[in-house]
Amino acid sequence: MDILYKIFIDPFVQMGAAPDLLVQSLWEGLVGGMLYALIALGFVLIFKASGVFNFAQGIMMVFAALTLVGLYEKLTGAGLASAGVAAYLALAATILVMYVLAVGVERIVLRPLVNQPDIILFMATFGLTYFLIGFGELVFGGNSKVMIAEQLGLPKGSVSLEMLGGFVSMQKIDIAAAVIASIMVAGLAVFFQKTRIGRALRAVADDHQAALSVGISLNQIWVIVWFTAGIVALATGIMWGARSEVSFALGTIALKALPVLVLGGFTSVPGAIVGGLIIGIGEKLGEFYWGPLVGGGIESWLAYFIALGFLLFRPQGLFGDKIIERI
């Protein structure tokens, strides 16, 4: 009985007793979830347009962040530009690198593997992951780096809000991350709905062959999609990097995007966002209120179990296309 009490009653009593702590952990979960959602977003873009289960999205995020910091260090190290200018130069150069990466992936990996089974393409992105890890560390060194958040003009420090009889402290960088993420999602929505390229992308997502037959170039679309995913990866990398440090260890965190994806459904942009928030908030609350019961550290697997729980009731995820099976 005691254990049942601890599982079903105690945490809620705690929540009621200290609502400021509840709000604090909700906020932290929200921020974490948003970053998961952004990784998942880059993934959904690629999956919709090319049907590739892009395992490398997490590593692309780290690679982008590492390129940004590495180029910045090289620029300031050579004394070419002052700190502020160098940061933006590095940002522009990183965007260029992501474009080159997108073209390279399309030419070297995707084009020869068109029409292969999903799992083969999935494995190819694994190869890409290894390649990017090796390449990134070779060029910029294997040690972890500090994100140049300040030089890019992102705010620093934290604000404390007085509410519910206590304090809720928020990192300013997290608030900025929330704002940037919202702008980016809104921007992507406009891009998809209102522009010519966006319409072509949606057409490809709907039906490759029909899109080909009305004269949409698949190769071009894939480059655009991988480039967009690269930009999303860069933005995510800057924010994750600012919260911790930039190293390929972050790639493991990016695996958390997988439960987010299956929760939301592989093909749904809103799904990625809602899924990210559910997973982020769920695992923070779980860790904070139920974690101590089993000795903590449950954050490492709770996300997968949350996703699994949802999947048992909706096997295609919350917003995924309904799976229709025919003989």
Partner: protein
């Protein structure tokens, strides 16, 4: 010419369904076994045995396990390393409780524990399909790894958090622990792997294997034909985890000698999936080829700069190894998406029609 079934008449169903129906296959397998049992232990140094052959055989066994699940039944799993961990920890606990029983018995029994855990995590596979299922196995991966680290009972409250293997003997020869020679360990590993490969080969060529393949090709159609999906999928999970568990127990007892939960992390699972896919989905010989490629390639790559007389820092070599491995994976997938096993089949066909082109 060299490899031809002409003139080899079958007079019974049993001989038609034999694992090696052709004489040349029987000779071939005998030669391979002779090399494995006689030539390699005689000619290979202890480094070669300990860090190339033993890991290669153990990883091959784990890949066979994963291949049964992913290649034959079509269920993607990203949690093989965790199931290997279950086997390792089960074997460790069993051998602490009953140290008198021969360790090989416990290595095999540990597989059953792993199979039970595998069935438990395989239950969602009835409802979830494709990559969605990969997340269920990821749940197993992260949960079990956490569990190994959090339950001190599992590693006998060892302050270092690792499991360490004491000395066990077979016919008074040390086969585990620091005193065991690589040769002794090699023979034990080889024998277990050969026996289990033979068993797997029988399994996948028989009724059960055909059932799995029907489920892989289309599970609804298989169900309509009267195959029980519940049984087929859970059996695949059980057998696959059994193989992984035995491989895990062997990995700790006969290869590493000690292990922490980190030894069974997600990267290990990914590497095993590589082996299966590079080797060839749905092919036992492919599992061996994939394991050989993925395990031996980095060893060669690391040794290459020194052999060529180049002086490159060890960190750089490590990074280059990553890059080259990634590039080679993509290269192999582009050249032969069906894996090395397909190359082997093509080679056999060439031998069959030689000296004519087709």
């Amino acid at each position: 010419m060299f490899y031809r079934e002409a003139g080899q008449f079958k007079t019974s169903y049993a001989s038609d369904q034999a694992i090696f129906p052709i004489l040349q296959d029987k000779i071939g397998i005998a030669i391979i076994l002779a090399i494995a049992y006689l030539v390699i232990p005689l000619l290979g140094g202890s480094f070669f045995l300990a860090s190339v052959m033993i890991p290669f055989l153990i990883l091959s066994l784990a890949s066979i396990g994963l291949n049964i699940l992913t290649g034959y039944t079509g269920l993607v799993s990203l949690g093989t390393a965790a199931f290997m961990g279950v086997g390792a920890y089960a074997c460790y606990k069993l051998s602490t409780f009953w140290p008198g029983v021969n360790i090989i018995v416990w290595i095999v029994v540990a597989g059953f524990f792993s199979a039970a855990v595998g069935v438990l995590f395989g239950l969602p596979s009835l409802r979830i399909k494709g990559f969605y299922l990969a997340v269920a196995t990821l749940a197993a991966q992260f949960f079990l790894q956490w569990f190994f680290a959090r339950v001190p009972w599992l590693y006998n409250h060892n302050p270092s958090g690792a499991i360490e293997v004491p000395k066990h003997t077979l016919f008074d020869i040390a086969i585990t622990g620091p005193q065991a020679t690589p040769t002794a360990r090699y023979f034990v590993v080889l024998s277990i792997v050969v026996a289990m490969t033979w068993f797997a080969s029988n399994l996948v060529h028989g009724r059960i294997g055909r059932m799995w393949m029907a489920v892989r090709d289309m599970d609804i159609a298989a169900q309509l034909m009267g195959i029980r999906l519940l049984d087929a999928k859970l059996m695949a999970f059980a057998v696959s985890s059994f193989y992984a568990g035995v491989a895990g127990a062997m990995m700790v007892f006969l290869w590493l000698g000690a292990a922490e939960p980190e030894a069974f992390n997600i990267n290990e699972s990914f590497l095993l999936l590589f082996m299966v896919i590079i080797g060839g989905l749905g092919s036992l010989i492919g599992s061996f080829m994939g394991a050989a490629l993925i395990h031996i390639l980095p060893i060669i790559l690391r040794a290459l700069p020194a052999a060529l007389g180049l002086t490159i820092g060890s960190a750089t070599v490590e990074h280059l190894t990553f890059m080259v491995t990634g590039a080679l994976i993509i290269f192999f997938l582009i050249v032969e998406p069906h894996g090395l096993a397909r190359l082997w089949q093509i080679g056999k066909q060439k031998l069959r029609v030689w000296p004519f082109p087709y």
